[in-house]
């Protein structure tokens, strides 16, 4: 981040917006600015790519199956709920 040819303040400004950038929630001009900055700054590019990968891993982690005893227990609980009339 201490590269001579760019401003660290700019890195920090980008850093705060990276999630919104990943989520496509920024305006076109800000997106273009971040893209340009990431092309020139290895640290910010790395920060962006590791954050993107973190999001992708979350989205792709598989669900665990529900324990069969819980499924049966839910059925039993619901069957035993006293029926109420509509008010």
């Amino acid at each position: 981040m201490s590269s001579d040819d760019h401003d660290h303040k700019h890195c920090l400004e980008m850093f705060e917006k990276l999630s919104e950038y990943i989520d496509g929630e920024l305006d076109h001009a800000t997106c273009a600015e971040i893209q340009k900055h990431a092309e020139d700054c290895v640290a910010c590019f790395s920060c962006l790519e590791t954050l993107k990968r973190t999001v992708a891993l979350c989205k792709n982690v598989k669900e665990q199956p529900i324990p069969s005893n819980l499924s049966a227990k839910l059925k039993e609980i619901i069957a035993n709920i006293p029926k109420t009339d509509s008010p």
């Binding site: 660290h8 290895v42 790395s46 990968r53 992708a56 891993l57 979350c58 669900e63 199956p65 227990k73």
Partner: protein, 207 residues
Amino acid sequence: MTSPKNQKQNKIVKDEDFDLIQSINSGQDERFHDLVERYEQKLYNFSLRMCRDHRDAEDMVQDTFLNVFRYLKDFRYETKFKNWLYKVAASTCIKKRRKSKFAPEKELSLDEFRPNDDTETPEQVPEWALMPLDKLLNAELAGAINRAILTIPKKYRMVIVLRDIEEFSTAETAQILNLSPANVKVRLHRARLFLRDKLKGYFENEQ
């Protein structure tokens, strides 16, 4: 022409659960089982990520469905049923936490994650961020991710789970958690940075 008054009326959201909810609310209580079957696995996984053990997660699923059964008649179709269900689940989870004697949750500050000017500049992007996802994601890593998610302070965890795992939008997450969209974005960014640092640690230890 529609009068402005009518335009202001809340729009009914007819999602994939609409007919089922209608039949339950019109007296076919037995169809509640279909609703449970439809969502039990999703809700169990959401609960697992909110609670620290399986038993608490199971209790949370049960309590959520009991609350849904109790309040389903009040559901006004103003949102997708799934969003309302998660709102009930999130509120069940928050109430459970209030009843327990946990210490106050840690606040995450952006300063903790902000890169320093004097930090050594990485020469390249780490391999784990570049290699194909299907080559990277195995059962061991999935376990590490799940454990890492559980270490995120709860108010941030709820947001990242709803946004990045359950894939609700920012607006939907804000509605589910009664937060402003801006607040959702702030919490999400911090939660992702927290998780990213945990994953970084995991991959560095692996080498």
